[in-house]
Amino acid sequence: MHIHRTERIWLTAGIVTLVIFLGIIGAAALTEGIVPENHVQTIDPTKVAETPPFDNPGVHKLPNGAFEVDIIGRIFSFTPNKIVLPVGANVTFYATSPDVVHGFFIADTDINMMLVPGWVSTASHVFKKSGSYLLMCNEYCGAGHHFMSATIVVQ
């Protein structure tokens, strides 16, 4: 099949750009560990409050100095709804939902995940700046969805 010379140049440039782009994504995954949410862990959504770590939600300092924060997102609030962390805290969030699908999004950070009933979601972040961060549910969950938020204070 003959393809016009200018179109050959255009398509070659496009496909080469694409391959470079995909190469960068692949290299970032393999060398820097930049990968999307990778957590495969199920939980009984009807027994969230009795299942560790969600039987004791909140901030937990780990022996290595990092923090684990366990949060339940339910209609239409987060438990706990106020979280205090020190500046520079290296935090891993564990969250789940006992009812419907929720979002878990902290504005001005890269923490953005879905809470799906039956599964545990995780994400890690280092809070470098002090201030008050807004945690929002960013997936529609019902009539009071727009009230579902919490505050993370980094001081």
């Binding site: 959504p45 019902g142 727009h146």
Partner: protein, 541 residues
Amino acid sequence: MVTMMRRENRLVLAHVYTATAALTLGGVFGLLQALSRAHWAHAPAWFDYYRMLTAHGVLMAIVFTTFFICGFAMFGVYRAMPRERSLTLSWIAYGVMLAGTLAAFWAIVTGNATVLYTFYAPLKAHPAFYIGTTVLVIGTWLVLIDIIANIIAWRKEHVGELLPLIVHGIACTFAMWFIATIGVAIEMLFMLIPWSLGWTPTINVMLSRMLFWYFGHPLVYFWIMGAYLIWYNVVPKFYNGTVFSDALTRLTFILLVLLSTPVGIHHEFTEPGISAGWKWLHTMTTYGVIVPSIMTAFAIFASFEIAARRKGRRGFFGTIAALPWSKPWFTGPAFGMLLFIFGGFGGVVNASYSMDELVHNTMWIVGHFHITVGGPVALTFIGAAYWLVPRLTGRKLWGEKLALAQTYSWFVGMAIMSTAMHWAGLLGSPRRTADVTYFGAEAARLWMPETIATAVGGSILFLSILMFVAVAIGTLFSREREEMAVEFAPVDEAAMRTPASLDKVATWAVVAVVLAILAYAGPMHELLSQHIYGAPGMRTW
């Protein structure tokens, strides 16, 4: 031709005007949402924001697009393959689609299905919503059967010939649609419908989401392929142009059949239960769709340039100036093409999982699909309607200047609204949320100017929809009669010969099914091997 095709024309008109009604009603809900978020108006308790949002999404994304594409597909088939034919199946298909739409619409407006157009379980709507939307999809399968029956009859009389170019594109569009809708049909028939009827107590939420997005992303390519059909086969007629290449047009549609389906998990990057490797695989396949997109960009500009050179115009500005910027049937699709460039840029961001984490479920995503389905797709369908309806009714287009103003104002309104939405999303404003002030939180104050700009753009768009409705109704009752020929764009003389392999749509569809299975076998197996706890349904509205 109009008199000869009178029976066929009536069916196409039914589709086009059903689509127009959906667009109008959907526009009313869209306006109210934009005003409500900007605190300029408040949704009444008896018809709350989320009910409007559900109606807006279903009417615009599903009803408007599907009816227009099915109507245009039947139009292309009838005109490119003229013969004596029965329209019984065509009308049954239309009736089934309409019945399904009405059932789902009843459930939505009565507040029994405030689950948005993605109907994520375990939000549990009235069975009429799930059954209605499933019936709508089954109606589109009847359209596919109708198309296949017409192609088989045509092939018998044209042994050894290639399918007419537009029919090839239509066949590809509906082959892709069928492969994609199998996913949502399985979700509906085996999961959501029995569960909403109370026959099964719980639901596997992640499985329902994977099946939904197996369908949900190809859905957007169904809209895009509908617009491409018009860009390749109809728009060149408006500037006395040609199709740049028959073979590459067919190749573009075949690539879209192959690459539209094995990509859906890029909508699930931020979800648990699917490991990163499968998400990475779907990132790779998603970017494959760039190839038919850049082929289309080339073909459109090449067609513009060839036509301009024949008129003695040269250079970039000479080419652009040679185009008919005062004809609404051209400016609609042309502004759509322009917006699609930016839609493509945004899509590249969304498909990259590291950047997606910053924009997932924010207003950025809403901006993205408004500048794609609300830009290229809607403007192309509207522009095509200005060309199509006079040819179906034998009446001159009423209010041509108003129609022209409509396409310009849509472009301006969409540029403002979509830019504001993208920007609000980068600042963190969430999508699908009735009120984004969060009790006066500091972070939420950042995105209020963009929320107001969204309402301004949305208001301009609503006025534009009203202009379109005026032209659509005015033309239907216009007294000025005019018989106009229907011709699709011819292939350029300099174009190369088309290999017969590109005409074998059914064979390529089988390859597409194999690719879809390869892309989903791994993540589906991983999901089904987990210890699954079902979730009971809930009505949280």
